[in-house]
Amino acid sequence: MTALIEVIRGIGRRVVDGVWRMGVATRFFLLTLLYSGQGFRRFHLIVREIYSSGVLSLIIILVSGLFVGMVLALQGYETLQTYGSEEALGVLVSLSLVRELGPVVAALLFASRAGSAITAEIGLMRATEQIAAMEMMAVNPIARVVAPRFWGAVISMPFLAALFSAMGIFGGYLVGVVLIGVDEGSFWSQMQAAVDFREDILNGVIKSVVFGVAVTAIALFEGYDAPPTAEGVSRATTRTVVTSSLAILGLDFVLTAFMFRGV
């Protein structure tokens, strides 16, 4: 009996803790938005963050995009060949990339490359009392540290997703047209006939922006909330990658359900 009560109490405690943490995270996110104005006045800080989360993620994004596109073309060709419609390879590669793989895989890579870096950086700034020092100098750390990182990363994300998709389509072209020998004209023209700017490309961009906001908000909060010890920071970094990956996939389902319902 007491064991059962203990179990129920454990569940209750977890729920209360979880809800409380969600509340803290929401408040943190709202504060970040509130102080964004001050963040934008220090635009060079945003530029610096675009460098560390955008430019430094370029290599992994471009190389992964290329390979994902090449694999898509190889696999897609095998399947399409059975139905004798190899010309649709361009459609398959471009729609998969622009609608799903571009935003999702780029965001997953972004979470593990830039998100974890943000968490570790902010966690260490807390652990070494840099955040506290800033507060003691009457500088709001959310305006000075958090908001510029938030906007820098959110601006980088759609560019990275677009580069991933473009690179993937190029990879698909390399394998499909150059290597396998699918007709170049029908590769591009079928692609252009099937891919709509608003329905596919713009929705893909919207997805990547949403993912960017989610990943960055999670990374910043985990870093800010991390216990100021080496162990605390490393656990927070892991949690950032896990939580934001789950958030990306969950949000992707919701967004896809809304965006491509009628098609």
């Binding site: 060079h44 530029v47 610096r48 675009i50 460098y51 955008g54 430019v55 370029l58 139905y83 419609s85 471009s94 622009v98 980088s156 759609p158 560019f159 990275l160 677009a162 580069l163 998709s165 473009a166 690179m167 389509i169 591009w188 692609m191 252009q192 006939a193 099937a194 891919v195 709509d196 700017f197 608003r198 329905e199 596919d200 490309i201 961009v205 009628g262 098609v263």
Partner: protein, 160 residues
């Protein structure tokens, strides 16, 4: 990291990102001719639209001149009403006809516009009167089998 180098890299990154978006929009997507240009809207009713979908191309002589923007159902005629967005650069006579065709044997369906001979051109909101619905494969096969059966057994019909 020097400020100037950092700015250069970020500038390069943003330019590359915008180039990627443009590549997707222009080379991969169809934001070419009429998506941004002037269009006019016409309606057409079909007895059967088959597998036609919104955003399907409207072609004339094989050239894409517009897109299907909406598909509805008329509860008085019990027919499908299809709304087309046509590029304003391509005016069509009022007695033009529309037919639902299939590209290839199993490909996607599109609307073929056949120009008529009228002096007056279709205006925004007009309706195309001459339409031909989609060919339903099952009906086609049924007709084919029926006529085949009729050919092979001429004596079966005592009237001939």
């Amino acid at each position: 990291m020097q400020r100037a180098t950092l700015d250069l890299w970020v500038g390069f990154f943003v330019v590359a990102g915008i180039a990627a978006v443009l590549f997707l929009a222009l080379k991969v997507g169809n934001m070419g001719a009429f998506e941004t240009g002037q269009t006019y809207t016409v309606k057409a009713t079909f007895a059967n639209i088959g597998g036609l979908k919104t955003r399907a191309p409207v072609k004339s002589a094989g050239v894409v001149v517009g897109r299907v923007v909406d598909i509805g159902f008329d509860t008085e005629l019990y027919e499908a009403t299809v709304t087309l967005n046509l590029d304003a650069r391509f005016p069509f006579p009022r007695d033009s006809s529309a037919a639902i065709m299939t590209s290839g044997l199993l490909g996607e369906q599109y609307i073929a516009l056949e120009a008529g001979g009228d002096d007056k051109m279709l205006a925004n909101g007009d309706t195309i009167r001459l339409t031909q619905g989609a060919v339903v494969l099952e009906n086609l096969i049924g007709q084919f089998l029926y006529s085949k059966a009729a050919e092979e057994t001429p004596g079966a019909s005592p009237a001939q």
